[in-house]
Amino acid sequence: MTSQPVAPHPHHVDPSTEQSLSIWFFVGVLMLSCGGIILTQGIYEFWHPGSTVLANLHPAFWWGLLMTAFGLFYTLRFRPGKG
């Protein structure tokens, strides 16, 4: 191949600066969506306990809560148009 690469990008940029959506925004949305679903299931399991080992610790609720918080932070922090 004859064409040589152009010089490295002159600025230390996140790819999001050349598009409107950041990679971290995608991460946030995915975690927020999955976390929301799991959190909902976790709340449901307070009244309908699951049959898995250590279900009494309500892992779906706590893990879902953690993912939702993580996803919410990244979604808001890297939302389109911010910064």
Partner: protein, 584 residues
Amino acid sequence: MPAVFIPAAPIPAIMLLAATQLTHLAPIDVAILLLYFAMVLFIGFYVKSAANTSEQFFLAGREMTAWIAGLSFVSANLGSLELMGWAGAAYQYGILATHWYWIGAIPAMLFLGVVMMPFYYISKTHSVPGYLQLRFGEGARGLSGVCFAFMTILMSGVNMYAMAAVMQVVLGWNINFSMWVGAITVAIYVMLGGLRSAIINEVLQFVLIWAGAMLIPILGLIEAGGWHNLMAQITLRMGSEYTHLWSTTGSFAANPMGVHWTGIVFGLGWVISFGYWTTDFLVVQRVLSANSLRSARMAPIIGSAFKMFVPFFVILPGLLALVLLKDPSGHLIQLYPDGSDMVLHHGAYNYNQVLPLMMIRYLGPGLLGLGITALVAGFMSGMAGNVSAFSTVWTYDIYGAYINKKASDSHYVSMGRWSTIAGMAVSVGTAYLVRHAASIMDYVQALFSFFIAPLLGTVILGMLWKRATRAGGFWGLLSGTAASIAMFVWVKTDMHNLRFVAMSPNAQPMAENLYRALWSWVICVVVTVIVSYCTKATPEAQLNGLVYGCTVIPSDGATRLYQKPLFWAIVVATVLFILNLWLW
């Protein structure tokens, strides 16, 4: 370490052909899986507009930050074959399996960032075969390019079949359905967005795997009563050799893996690890996408910091299963080697099923969907990584180098998109081939390893020794690869020959990989040195930007201590040292 280096613990044909369905997904599990597929496809369409030039399509425009390149770098290797295979290896061999994540990865990643990356980066190469062309000429590029492209596309097919087969075993899904859905999805998002699309999805996969797999060791440690109780129970049941990293490696017979520390240090820690992490274009391509020299140097170091903690959710579940995996009546479930009589005729589980079994043990609806999605993401990411690397090497180092040298940039981008489709089609063919002759999978994985160890010798000598000549590089690479194949065939035809390759009658198959890699590297280096001294040296002026000692490495712009890659490399190395001492 990649699945290609675990012939003793690949996903076996037996597991793949098992008919028993382990569990099923609830509607919310399916919702999580569909959400992931929708996002992956959206990303492919979304980034298409930013993949119009060859630089954008094949190297993501060289715009990635150190964090994104670093996570992608480690994620490209974090495939589901690897997760399941090494969780099974931990069950089989104990904590020794951790070596493949620590000494078998971290030093090489740090070396790539601190020493090698400047040469890859400032040489402006598009690929590892491209670097070989600059340093050793067309012969070395042609040999490495063809071998890499061929092996990569076969590995993509193996990943595809493995995903479909695991989904069949775990969830009872139709194998054709899984293969085609996976192949079409990956083909769409890589064809549209090139490396940028693959990298974004690898970062997503990285987060998904951590989110989906971290809960198993957390709940497992709670159930076991903490780390010390777990170690005590494993020692009681299996012996202390299952809980020590180094103290049992003084002899082949003293540890369940049947390896000696020399094999671990020199075979795994040096040749295999450095060969894979510093010369396999599948992972190096991710770092080449970095937006500056400092980002390119920091990316592998960031990746190594995360890699160091992967054993927490890969090795630990295997260890936990040794004492916690029980049937409904409370009896420990015993897993057996692949292909054993118990697995074949009595419906017992095999080692590689340990991770899905632990998922089912702890993860209810929703969480199980997350775990399964993480596995699917890992498989798809593995396919995408292979196909995007294939597309680059095919277009730059085969098509652009030998078939059509003077096409326009847009033509090469089109070729990249079409080769993605073609590569995926070949992968599908390979997957069906593996389906009908599952032993092919072992050979494909072994084939890949033939090339990596000698390639390390060629690249290292190329970068660090200016006297290495073009003829030396080519013949060293060729002879090292040929020697590796010859040793593989020699042992395959008669297992007793293993004692000569591994230098001990007590050596186990795992030791063969370590010593075969070591010997093929030694042969490559020796031949390269001899041929180089017999041929005319390359003028130093032609080595500028390619070889240590002939190159003024530009400043990476780091002024403060915390900005310097070397500082962070030392921090990671120190933590690694402490962890090894802790589990000595």
